[in-house]
Amino acid sequence: MSIGRDEVRHVARLAELAVNENELDRLVEQLSRIVDYVAQLEQVPGDAASDPFLPGPHSVALRDDVPVPIPLRYPPADMAPEFAEGFYLVPRLGAMGDE
């Protein structure tokens, strides 16, 4: 196995992905199989161009910077308990510490 249980746990933490202990062995087996398979890229000549190839335009075409309203699925008032005059109402600073 090219990948062990600890490596899978570490990568899962980096990816913010909960992994159950009872599925760990299967993941170790499958990820090792994938990583062993893609390792054949070791054979790519070392003198090959190192500039990444990207399809598409050579330069990114930027659009005019015109502010437009961003559509929301729900009105802002539906996203929090209290909303008035364009602001969310939250406890006064320090008020929570007094409770």
């Binding site: 990816a15 990820l31 054949q40």
Partner: protein
Amino acid sequence: MSAATDIARETGRRLTAADTAGLNAALDWSQRLLDTEAARVDRLGVRGALDAVPIALKDNIVTTEQPTTCASRILEGYTSPFNATVVDRLRSAGAMIAAKANMDEFAMGSSTEHSAYGRVRHPLDHDRVPGGSSGGSAALVAADVVPVALGSETGGSVRQPASFCGVVGVKPSYGRVSRFGLVAFGSSLDCISVFGRTVNDAAKVLSAISGADPLDATTLDRPAMPLPRPREDLRGLRVGLPKEYFPADLHAGVAAGLQRTREAILDLGAEVCDVSLPHTAFAVPTYYIVAPAEAAANLARFDGVRYGPRKVGPGGDVRALYQATRGQGFGAEVRRRILVGTYVLSAGYYDAYYKQAQRARALIAEDFRRAFATGVDLLLTPTTPTPAFRAGEKTDDPVAMYLADIFVCATSLAGLPALSLPVGRSEGLPVGAQLIAPFFEEELMLSAAAAIERVVPATAEVR
């Protein structure tokens, strides 16, 4: 009743029949929405190029009227506040959005077995897969529910199911069609692509959705693709057959279908020659580093805070929320690819895997450039190494599943246009031939494919 309403009702009947037959190809549709689409077409007044044509959308293309789930539990109940650019363009051309189609979760798969909403059945044999990841779109066209559908390609996810289902599948050049409103998987690879019953149907849809879009900076500043001019023959064209795509162990039915296509191309007056794409063997391993790496970054946004259901993890802090939501919301294949993508980008492995894959990708693209520079106009290859395989046959071995993409993912890495054309059947199962063209030469590719389509019987057994 208007013609559009008639078509909307008939499409509803066909979607019902497909659901009843257990195809499981449509995730979301309703007669009410179809009737609304028909009324909108009637209000348009002018007859567009796709006047009242019902079209299915893969469920990773957003619309404001229907949920977009990417066939994942993590997006359950999500409806976009905006439409994809392709949706606006289809509607401007008169098309009616008929259904959101089932798919492999987040477009990761080659069989449409990795859907949170169950696998899609192959329309000709329910024990087999329709290919993937756009298997729902392919099955809806193959079952004659809709004449055209949109899918998305990251590494062959339209051409491969088109081949399995016996329909036409066209992937445009990267930058030809706007990705705005396509849920991102591999941003340097993703292309919205088209299924059609015929080459001309697919070409009409591609023409309608193509062209620069200020909302996608990677679209090229060129106008929409004109409809290809019909060709009587293929005289003056040179078609290359890359030897790496014709291995000795190629499925006999696929080889026979390609031989039939080669003979038709010769009969139509084209010249045929052998070419070599020497780095083809690197295509699948390169793809399965680049695509998961990009996916790991793109799917980081699905964390339970902004989209879909939220799960609370042990400890109750925000990281526990992320981990529980993502751990339970993503299916097995998506989680595997996120883990692989994170691994190849992590400290200590980046140079060995990701950087090496970038080198290989440049070599693969250079292979195509050199082949076309020798005077070859198009390349002809099989689309898939075998006809549709049985459900469950490859689900336990991810690498075996990945190898189903062996003839389609190199063109995705190189950003080139390509299509799959049905060229016969082997023991009743469709066989597809692939045409690959130079960058932005879709018109040439489609006009040649239409000429081949006229003389190669798509449903006759090959021997």
